[in-house]
């Protein structure tokens, strides 16, 4: 099936790239969604099996693949709305849809790969397709964003490759040349620790460009700002999850070696710095989209803190990235409607949103409550569990510092969101603003509700899969 999926997606991408017929193109994009959903369902029924040597339907991969497939549906629907509203020409539409299909395909395959080099290859493909999406508007700022993204991603991909080379050196001591995660885990006692350390440093640094963590987070911010919002929703959620998969699968290996403590230190430091950096930027950011992107950095910092703390933190980290994917993508989908009303991204020029689009304003309000992990939100549960794991690990000082930083983030986030919702923008002419259909907010409501449901009352099978995905880690 993975072969059918990859070839099918590739064929659809090529036809999308060539075709200029509007109805045909959109139905083809719909066909891709069907293929994606069928693939996700198929993966559930073939749980645990391996295809094409390099792809395994393991619990982490399957659960993220399902998340991806769910997020992809509204992403393409909102892309349709976006393209039709901007009256894009046929060529821009073709490039956009092709890149979306390739991006979704590469992320899905990256989730499922059981071999570090294969994950790396698909991460490369995501850089290519994401850069085409960021350059969608073809103006100076988009070019700047694209250039920065491409350059930083190219360097971080090189870093991952260096990490893989060090890993192969480490593996040579074990007399093996199979770089699959399973083999690495099986031979964990024979790996050379010096090379393993170097490998972890380089691979971790490389994947932070996708995950959005210190040190390589900068490129992602520009990318999410300049890409069209439906594409930005994918970049800010499922693509970050791909970075998480890359780090997490390797972390499972290193957590089973005596280097666990050292790795916790590395991951924990990067995670804390990410929360710190995102706090600093959140306090001064005035661009709505970039604010959402920085909030993503904060969430990834919390996730990696959970991973570093261990115990219940592993479970909570995986839960957190899934819930974050639904919450953050719905905020990005909503951004587009906000932009259509105000024609501006700056918070100074946006305000009193409740008056112009009450449904959309509700989405922003609920999205804010969810993203800041206030109680009804599902993220509250996962964040609470992560804090508990930090507490259990005995890092009280760290916990207090993180909580203080989060308070500042909630303050900054709330200040901006409530300005958007209630305080009128100075000099805004509301004589001919666009009326937006409430139906366009439906997917956002569903996602936010789904995140609450998954967090507060998770189905037993979901909990079981989460537990399976972290079962290889030492508790």
């Amino acid at each position: 099936m993975i072969g059918v999926y990859l070839l099918g997606a590739l064929a659809i991408a090529i036809i999308l790239f060539i075709s200029r017929n509007k109805i045909f193109v959109y139905s083809l994009a719909g066909l891709f969604l069907v293929l994606q959903s069928v693939f996700a369902i198929y993966s559930c029924f073939h749980y645990g099996s391996t295809e094409w040597i390099y792809f395994t339907y393991d619990s982490l991969g399957v659960i993220l693949l399902i998340t991806m497939s769910i997020v992809a549906i509204p992403a393409l629907i909102h892309s349709y709305i976006y393209i039709e509203n901007h009256q894009e020409n046929a060529q821009a539409r073709a490039i956009y849809l092709t890149s979306m299909v390739l991006l979704i395909m590469a992320i899905s395959a990256g989730y499922l790969s059981n071999h570090i080099a294969v994950t790396w290859i698909f991460t490369e493909i995501t850089t290519l397709s994401a850069s085409a999406l960021i350059y969608h508007h073809r103006n100076k700022l988009a070019l700047e964003g694209t250039w920065k993204y491409v350059f930083i991603c190219a360097i971080s991909i090189t870093f991952i490759f260096i990490g893989i080379l060090f890993l192969s050196l480490s593996l040579q001591h074990a007399g093996s040349d199979d770089l699959s995660f399973k083999n690495l885990l099986a031979r964990r006692t024979e790996l050379n620790p010096v090379w393993l350390r170097m490998a972890f440093l380089f691979i971790f640094t490389g994947f932070t460009a996708k995950l959005g963590l210190v040190p390589m987070f900068t490129a992602g911010i520009d990318a999410k700002d300049k890409a069209p919002a439906p594409a930005g929703a994918l970049l800010a959620t499922v693509l970050m999850n791909l970075g998480f998969v890359g780090i997490f699968r390797f972390y499972i290996v290193i957590a089973n070696t005596p280097l666990l403590h050292w790795a916790q230190l590395v991951v924990g430091t990067a995670a804390f710095l990410s929360i710190f950096v995102s706090t600093v930027y959140m306090l001064k950011v005035k661009n709505v989209k970039r604010m959402l992107a920085y909030s993503g950095i904060e969430h990834m910092g919390i996730v990696m803190l959970g991973v570093a703390a261990g115990g219940i933190g592993y479970y909570a980290a995986v839960l957190h990235i899934i819930l974050h994917a639904f919450v953050k993508s719905s905020l990005f989908f909503q951004f587009n409607q906000l932009y259509r009303v105000f024609q501006d991204k700056s918070i100074y020029h946006i305000g009193n949103y409740f008056k112009y689009n009450a449904t959309g304003a509700m989405v922003l309000l609920f999205g804010f409550i969810s993203a800041t992990a206030m109680p009804p939100s599902g993220l509250f549960v996962s964040e609470f569990l992560i804090f508990k794991s930090i507490f259990d690990a005995g890092q009280i000082a760290l916990l207090i510092a993180v909580l203080l930083l989060l308070t500042l983030i909630i303050f900054a986030f709330g200040k901006n969101i409530f300005k958007i919702l209630f305080i009128p923008a100075v000099g805004f002419d509301d004589s001919n603003i666009e009326k937006i259909s409430p139906w366009e907010s439906l997917s956002q409501f569903l996602f936010l509700a789904f995140a609450v449901y998954l967090g507060l009352n998770p189905p037993a099978i979901f909990v079981q899969m989460l537990k399976d995905s972290v079962s290889l880690l030492p508790m």
Partner: protein, 210 residues
Amino acid sequence: MIHVLLITFIITLFYMAIANRLMTYIKVLALQGVILFFVVFLQLSEINTLNLVLIMLETIVFKSLAVPLFLSHLLKRNNITREAEPFLPNFVSLVITTFIVVITILISNTIKDDNLDKIFFVVALSTLFFGLYLIATRRKIITHVMGYMVIENGVFVLSLAVGNEMPMLVNLGIMLDIFASVLILGIFLNKIGDVFKNVSVDQLSNLKDY
């Protein structure tokens, strides 16, 4: 013989650190490609012939012909001034490059590994850090790209160190080479040259938070 070639490779880094003109950078990149061609020939004695020919073709055609020619074409087309415009004087560059090499030698001495020829490790790591240094201290975007090419050459050297046991990794490295170079050079440097007339990083600071 391999050692002589790799030491020559390090010397090209020193030369690059004090070079003034962009054309010199491009020529050094081409020379590095030629050196890597011979290193591949001598080092990868155990892999099958077809793969060896492929790798050697990549070094000579891609690294020492295509990329340098394309870079010099870009220089001419965009009328980029021929000076490299470093932020730091050349003497400081030279000192820092020396530091980089000395530190990597010290690091390599702490590692005890019989499987690895240490000189590969030293050359690869110092090339990597030199490339990052080059990116950080030059003003033009095109020198950033050259710095990235230097990093890729360094990674290529490292992949040769394990090449006999895992030829797949060398091939992956080549894929990275071609993929990233085509992405960076082909699409964007062309576009950037069209949109920003004088290509300097100072023009790439318009994306702001407010």
